[in-house]
């Protein structure tokens, strides 16, 4: 199982902060498609940076069961 975290606008649009995907491994780009399928209103996910286990990652990287995947919308701290 892969845990996916959604923040800020993504969380609001999806209506939830966490999504669990039953898969042994899955490319980040496929997770995006999976989420867009599940939440058609989540178009802003395409401007978000993916992270795996709290480090930024590229779209081609595969997440494995047990990993935490996060989609990071443009940040605005400070």
């Amino acid at each position: 199982m892969i845990k996916v975290l959604l923040f800020a606008e993504l969380e609001e649009k999806a209506g939830q902060r966490e999504v669990e995907i039953s898969a042994e491994e899955m490319k980040i780009s496929d997770i995006r498609i999976y989420l867009l399928n599940k939440f058609p209103q989540l178009t802003v996910i395409n401007t978000a940076m993916p992270a795996i286990n709290e480090e930024y990652a590229e779209d081609e990287v595969k997440a494995k069961a047990g990993d935490n995947v996060a989609f990071i919308p443009p940040v605005s701290g400070g």
Binding site: L5, F7, S76, G78
Partner: protein
């Protein structure tokens, strides 16, 4: 004690002196602090309050990374950053950065670097609440906008 961490996300009011104390050093002659506060007017629009959210463990990790990056350029620098999340009113402190160095020019450079980097790589978001609505604010870099809407690859190692 959590408050002793040099890189901290907190829901509590930030005490400036506590952040400064973390970088005070017998060999430092200069401490620069950057304090980000909630401003009432942005582009003529009146903010009532803000809400900050963060991906807390990753945000603390990225704040620590900024500290490491500063020490590459300034090995004697000490860095502490505390960022508050939750609901903040006008003039409330959102972030305190403190950098100590032996000489003052480095403290300014490093502190400025830290606030720019926070706005590039640290997963913290603010939602502005106005009289007539609310909105999650995207990338607010004043000087390095990302045309792609994403940080560039070289910023993210």
């Amino acid at each position: 004690m959590a408050e002793q961490k040099n890189f901290l996300i907190t829901e509590e009011v930030i005490n400036i002196q506590e952040v400064v104390d973390k970088v005070t050093d017998r060999n430092a002659g200069a401490i620069n602090t950057f304090i980000g506060t909630v401003r009432e007017l942005t582009k003529g629009k009146k903010t009532l309050y803000l809400k900050y959210d963060a991906y807390v463990p990753m945000a603390e990790k990225k704040l620590a990374q900024i500290g490491d990056e500063i020490q590459i350029d300034f090995p004697e620098a000490k860095v502490a950053i505390t960022h508050r999340i939750g609901e903040l009113g006008i003039t409330d402190i959102a972030v305190v950065i403190a950098v100590s160095t032996p000489h003052r020019a480095d403290a300014f450079t490093a502190s400025r670097y830290a606030i720019e980097r926070i706005k590039e790589i640290v997963p913290i978001w603010k939602k502005e609440h106005w009289e007539d609505g609310e909105e999650w604010i995207g990338d607010q870099l004043e000087k390095k906008p990302y045309p792609s809407g994403k940080p560039e690859k070289e910023d993210l190692q």
